[in-house]
Amino acid sequence: MENKGLTKVDIIFEKIDPKEVLIKAYKMTSAEIIQNMLDSGLKGRGGAGFPTGLKWKYTAAEKEPEKYIICNADEGEPGTFKDREILDRVSTKVHGGMAIAGKAIGAKKGIVYLRGEYRYLLPKLMIELASFHKMIKEIGFDFSIEYKMGSGAYICGEESALFESIEGKRGEPRNKPPYPTVSGVYNKPTSINNVETLVTAMMIINHGAKNFTQYGTKDSRGSKVFSVSGDTPTPGIFELELGMTVQQFVTEFGDGDTKAVQVGGASGFCVPRKKFAETIIGFEGVPTGGSMKLFNSSRSMYNVLHNYLDFFNEESCGQCTPCRVGCQQLLKGVEKVKKGEAKSTYLNELIKLADSMKIAAKCGLGQSVGNAFKSIVGNFREEIIY
């Protein structure tokens, strides 16, 4: 396995002249922009990791004249806060990435769906958006962006739930297919990209795809922003090259007593100390939208698991059976085992349930609840029981 080690990079927040990059993009054809993305190997930075170039290519191929580019700024995964920081510091790059994507797929409208918890950013973003609109108009772009606010619902980060929310409905994920590239918001072809993905796309136009591919590994190209929290002396956000091991990460950020790292948030994977060295952070190992939580030996992994399950119990949209009821059963089940009211072997039944949830739930949330559950119970079984 490729191991790139831990290297700090400065691309996302790098100082550039956005106008210059946008002029460059404006002069490119849709196909050229998409080819750049395909060549770069960029995968979505929200966590799921769908190749951005393909997403744009599919959306561009749709005949429907009305299309949308959506910036998913519903950053709700516990332990992630990079998108807030990116929007706070370099919103013009986010907007710029949207304009470039718009050009690539043939969309004149962009929507930023910003989570309600970040509303305090809005006044500043509105000012920055106004000057952005002025700038792209000067360049010649026929493109505009509007902001839609969330109101406190984790599930709205799921793309189709986000569309529903924009349309004024409960944020309940849709059946797929159809996929967003065919029928997204307002049932129009839609490319929905994470905040960081859009910035990265703009930087790929700036530096070229080749420059991007020199970072990272075959499966995980480039660098990305990590949100580091938990038991660490240096919490915060860090842009790192992809392809390091968890061990290398812990050496840099740990407090010397790290026993587990939760990679990818509540819906991600728990990596225990004994697997630090063999686990690559990236799509070939543990994928992450950037959430990295460190736990030292003073922490009870039961409490961690309980906290996550409590989170899912509240944040499941509730429409499909495996997720709505499954989350309740997992939570109540581990409580019973902990209290000694159920046999420890009951955990095996819960693991089977988690397996069913992974394959039978309607959306990514319900499917991923099983990840955290299985990796925590699997690695810290004793802590759950005793």
Partner: protein
Amino acid sequence: MYQVGNLVKELSDKHGRVRESLMPILQDIVQKHNYLTDEAMVEVARELDISAAEVYGTASFYTFLDTQVKGKYVIRVCKTITCSMKGKSEIIQTLEDMLKIKPGETTGDGQFSLIETNCIGWCHKAPAILINELPYTELTPEKVSEIIKDYMQK
């Protein structure tokens, strides 16, 4: 309990009267009054020509679109894992002591509501809270009590 008066009409003029106008309208009502009364929801349903049950169903999906009475200042304390590890309980305790309410309650004078909430995106500066829309981070019991005292003066 507030009276909606012309607010819903004005907001419908501003945001439109189609289904996608629903969220911005509800958000703006909450922005102004911190929660939705039944009267407000019925009024919104009338303006948008959708059923009141659907307005309620949609509002009740979103944590911030409260349909129970809320105070002038809504304090949301993050309870997700990092904040929980870094002293959320002490923050809650301090707030309970100062405001004499439990999470989920509103002070008798209608000034403060205390709510526990899921991750608000400040894990690196835990524990964190929101008061209305403003974040306060890296809190200690002392710090939070200073903040609340300021709000009490307002």
